[in-house]
């Protein structure tokens, strides 16, 4: 149990996907213009991340490694992730059409979200067990969710700020992301690493 808690703390706070590994910056900037879309995006991404980690682990351990096909890892993972995202999209479109419309292009773009592929590859690198892989994926997703929801709220506040003209929009958003990463550095050493 302790190791699972450590994995969660490690992936959410210490090695946050967005702020320390710089993965998934595209939806981090693109889908955070309002809190509602950030909530939807983070829920969808967390779901995809967890599911894709489990599937990637299975594909890697039961299919690629026994047959010595590790060189096909990248292409297989992309296939697995694309299928998962497609499944999620169909699910959201039929259950929550409003959310589907709000997320728009960003939903299918989860396929190209490097955070998802990154987590799948990190899992195979670190040789974890099946449950650990799922927890790792979930932690990565929760960390992503935490950061983009906080970021969306900050950006809503920024809309009222008197930001100098050259820094409006993405520029000040990225400066803010830098300060967020600075704050998250405080968690260094927390998960015993």
């Amino acid at each position: 149990m302790t190791e699972f808690i450590l994995i969660i703390i490690g992936t959410v706070l210490v090695n946050n996907l967005v702020l320390t590994r710089f993965l998934g910056l595209c939806p981090f900037v693109g889908a955070t213009t309002s809190i509602e879309s950030a909530f939807g995006m983070s829920a969808a991404t967390t779901f995809v991340l967890t599911l894709a980690s489990a599937l990637a682990w299975m594909v890697n351990t039961w299919l690629l490694q026994p047959f010595g096909l590790e060189y096909l890892r990248l292409i297989c993972f992309i296939l697995v992730i694309a299928a998962t995202v497609q499944f999620t999209e169909i699910f959201i479109r039929s259950t929550q059409p409003m959310l589907h419309q709000m997320l728009g292009i960003f939903l299918p773009l989860i396929t190209t979200n490097c955070a998802v592929l990154g987590v799948a590859l990190l899992i195979t690198q670190e040789q974890q067990s099946f449950i650990e892989a799922i927890v790792y994926g979930l932690g990565g997703g929760l960390g992503f969710a935490l950061v983009i929801i906080l970021f969306a709220a900050l950006r809503e506040r920024l809309q009222a700020a008197d930001v100098p003209l050259p820094f409006r929009g993405s520029a000040i958003a990225l400066v803010t992301a830098g300060f967020m990463a600075l704050a998250f550095m405080g968690f260094a050493g927390l998960a015993g690493s």
């Binding site: 906080l150 506040r157 700020a161 400066v175 803010t176 704050a183 405080g186 260094a188 050493g189």
Partner: protein, 336 residues
């Protein structure tokens, strides 16, 4: 509450403005600055003066570049105050270029890129300090030995060149001493008994914190700050510390030790209460404060840095828009 609020016009103006508020806070830092100078020597005074003027000049430059009027922002004291708070967080001996870098990040990056006074998302002083903590950890961890309070020449030499005189001894703050001691499998009663905490200036830090409390009470009396944030931080830190301390007093510092070691009280009354980057509603302020207290405890206990106050403040600054969103006071007549 309903008796006090919503009284009818005419209202009398409270005659308070930003400049007066900043002056109050500057005045309130006087006792703690004095005691810090008295304990650690001239370096503290040098830091405060240099940081304040650095911040003031950068504020002027930023306003100039942005094509804004220089008044009233140059005389309201907000920039020098940022400098003073930054200097209070720094070790007593800090080379001048580190202070200049921290001021640059505090005034230009954390404040003026966001639109200047009133718009900054992050506490400027803590943003500048955190940059130094991460980029120059060795300088930030170097505290002079208390007994070897350096004379003004050595202090100036270090300030200008960043190298210590040959016979300078490095000491530790109580928090450093606790962290190192616990890593070496010593227990807290042992650390107290063998005088490790004593040489680290435990007694002096109690006085420094008491001076900060005195300043804080002055601010509370003047109603420059409200009680919610300090109370929240103290409760958050003391509660987390108490739980661990009751569990195992050998390896967990007592709540009292947590509250009076490091610049905790400086942070509680002067830094966490920054009106711009903190939460605005009364409940929001309590949550914000408690979050800072709890995160400070977490980072001090399990993190890599001996004191986590700066990071805790920045982390809670991140959460402020969300806290404000969910603790919005009910409008009069709103039904829910």
């Amino acid at each position: 509450m309903s008796l006090l609020s919503n009284s009818r016009a005419p209202h009398q103006h409270s005659q308070r403005n930003v400049a007066q508020m900043m002056r109050d806070v500057l005045l309130a830092t006087f006792p703690v600055s004095t005691i810090l100078c008295w304990t650690y020597g001239w370096g503290v005074l040098l830091n405060i003066l240099f940081a304040a003027s650095c911040c003031w000049l950068l504020e002027a430059a930023a306003l100039k570049i942005r094509g804004r009027r220089l008044q009233p922002w140059l005389t309201d004291g907000s920039a020098p105050l940022t400098g003073v708070l930054l200097a209070l967080a720094l070790p007593p001996l800090t080379p001048w270029w580190l202070i200049a870098i921290a001021s640059l990040f505090a005034i230009v990056f954390a404040k003026h890129l966001y639109g200047g006074l009133g718009y900054n998302l992050f506490n400027p002083a803590m943003a500048g300090y955190a940059v130094l903590l991460i980029s120059f950890p060795a300088y930030m961890a170097w505290w002079p030995e208390l007994s070897a309070r350096s004379n003004i020449n050595d202090t100036l030499h270090y300030f200008l060149y960043g190298t210590a005189a040959a016979d300078a001894l490095s000491g530790a703050t109580p928090l450093d001493a606790i962290q190192t001691g616990l890593k070496q499998m010593q227990t807290l009663p042992e650390l107290l008994a063998n005088g490790t905490l004593e040489t680290a200036g435990n007694a002096q830090w109690v006085w420094i914190n008491l001076a900060a409390i005195a300043g804080g009470l002055f601010l509370l009396m003047r109603r420059t700050i409200t009680w919610q944030i300090p109370a929240g931080v103290i409760l958050g830190l003391a509660l987390s510390a108490s739980i661990a301390w009751i569990g195992d007093a050998a390896v967990n510092p007592s709540p009292w030790l947590q509250l009076v070691s490091g610049g905790t009280m400086i942070g509680v009354f002067f830094i966490a209460t920054d009106p711009v980057s903190s939460a605005s509603s009364p409940q929001g302020k309590l949550i914000y404060g408690a979050g800072i207290g709890a995160l400070t405890y977490v980072i001090r206990t399990w993190g890599a840095y001996p004191d986590g106050f700066a990071f805790a403040v920045l982390l809670m600054n991140l959460a402020v828009p969300l806290i404000d969103r969910y603790t919005r006071p009910k409008l009069y007549g709103q039904v829910q």
